[in-house]
Amino acid sequence: MKKILVIDDDQFFAKTLEGALPKEKYELIAAEDGEVGLQKLKSEKPDLIILDLMMPKLDGTAFLKKLQESTDLPKVPILVSSNLSSVKKISDVMAMGAVGYVIKSDESLQSIVQDIERVLGEEGKKE
């Protein structure tokens, strides 16, 4: 059973993703902003983070930065999912250590699920 932390102020996204992911394989934890995300990262120790960029309090970019600067936070692969689609933004977050970038409205739930499985599969091989 893999733990996935979805950090997104759009609660619908987490809910629909939960519906699309096979329940027997994944456990989904939701956080509505970056601050809650940091807490849950420490307490839940997820296998993957799905991170939105535009959020109140601590946004996605700031969250990535915190993770980059921190020495004690667990290293977890991060898949950025956002509706922001500028090339600059994508290359910026990739440079900050994200393993992938999903433009939410351009992809179906099914393809997002496939992205998640691919990232977790690759990470599994590394271990």
Binding site: D10, A20, D33, N83, S108
Partner: protein, 581 residues
Amino acid sequence: MFLFLIPVLLILVVFIFYFYSSLKKREKEIIKEREESTRHLYELAILKELGERTGYSLNVEEILQIITGSLRQFIDYTAVGYVVITPEKLKINTHIEKPVSNLFIKEMKDRMVASLSALTNKSLDTFVLDEIVSGAIVVDEIKQSIGSLFNIPIVIGGKVVGVLSVAHIDPGLYKEADMTILYKITGQASEAVTRLEDVVKMEKGKLNAMVESMEDGVLMVDPEYRIVVANPAVKKIIKFSLSADEGKDINIFDFVDSLGGKFDIHGRLEEALVNKHSFVSDRINIGDSFFNIGVYPVLHSPTKGGSQMLGAVAVWNDITRDIELERVREEFTGMIVHELRSPLDGIKKIIELAVSGSVDKNSDQFREYLNMVHQSSSSMLELVNDILDLSKLQSGKFEVNKEEANIKEVVANRISFYKISADTRGVALVANLNHNLPELSLFDPQAIKQILNNFLSNALKFTKNSGSVVVSAFVYDPLEFFPKDLDKSKIPVFPETTDINVKTASLCVVVSDTGLGIPEDSMKDLFHTFKQARLNPVDKESKGTGLGLVIAKGIVEAHGGEIGVVSKEGMGTSFFFTIPL
């Protein structure tokens, strides 16, 4: 007998002589009077003619030519001339009526220049002489020198600029009266020129003041690229500072250096001067600012036709603010697109789940999904309505339909509408209606409901559990201020009389909360389009675009009222509006 006649004859002769002489005297007087009146008439005629001919001329020389040309009508002279001082030279013009020698002309010239030198208290030796002699022929055999001569100073604006001279070969010719007339004539001409110069100076002053105070940078050069005008704005743009470059005149190279490769100022000025081409640049970045630089030829086109190249002007139009606005607009559009795309995408994904059949249609989860679709579509509809209202406001098509309505009922209606929402949040929502409110007054009840919806939903969003929201309504009189019995005791932040600037008695509605308060620096942008304060509501559902307040402002202003907000961080906020009664 005859002897007797002698004394009688004598008496008669004496009498006749006396009579004759008195007659003669009278005749002389009459002739003199006639002469005087003729002279006076002449004088008037000449002054009038001069007035007409010189009235609109600013050119001293032109005026002097007119005067000297008219002179022969009433003064007898051998030669008439003038000398005028210009920055570089002395212009001397002599018109001879009867043939004279070169010596005569030279003596006349010397006496004019000497007189001018004495009057201006200046040595004129260094000046280049520009001489013209016209009229009769010069005959050196004529040995007659100047017999009579008088000089009249030409004064413009209190300064001696020249001397007018009348000369004759006969001595002792000119009388006080002749000189007086000429004084009068030149006096009048000088006055006219002075007046015109004052007008021109004033107009020039106005133009200068205008150019000096312009926010746009203005540079004007003459055809030799010498700088004629460089206003403070343009000096600031190219960072030419008076203190650092003291004693140094600004020149075209200061501009060439400052602009570097960004704009070929010299080339563009040349285009304007040589080919009379105008040019307006694209956006050019200088320091922190952006400019459009326009370069135009400056041509003087007198009515006589043909145009004279005076120089070229370059204008730096600061478009930094436009670009900033453009950026804010883009950001705003980006935000709106995001606000619409997220719920739409949510709906799409829920439908995808439903269609895939992985969720049981009778399950609680499926019902939750349907609720989410409902919420998403409602919030999108709200946003679209707000955008429509906003565009109506901006294009001036927003209309309020005023009717006789009861503000107490409107407030009570909105409170009951938001009661459930307030109860779920654990927030007390109460009305505070003053008895001084009229039963009926003129306003658009639907529009006022819209404002209250916005104020109330905001107040609830930012107020924590066990806080309170109070809607106060009363008549505010600018002379008596708040009604004496208005209860503000449970409201931590309430507008002061200085916050409400109405001129007539008005309905005043205040929605006060005990919420988080608004930071000082976010307050000023609250009612501005495209600039929404980024505030953190107490819970995650309570996001907003902030368009509601902009729309509320539009509605209140359409009623002729005012809208405002007072807030203290950590204590609470009061939004209020007034509607004149």
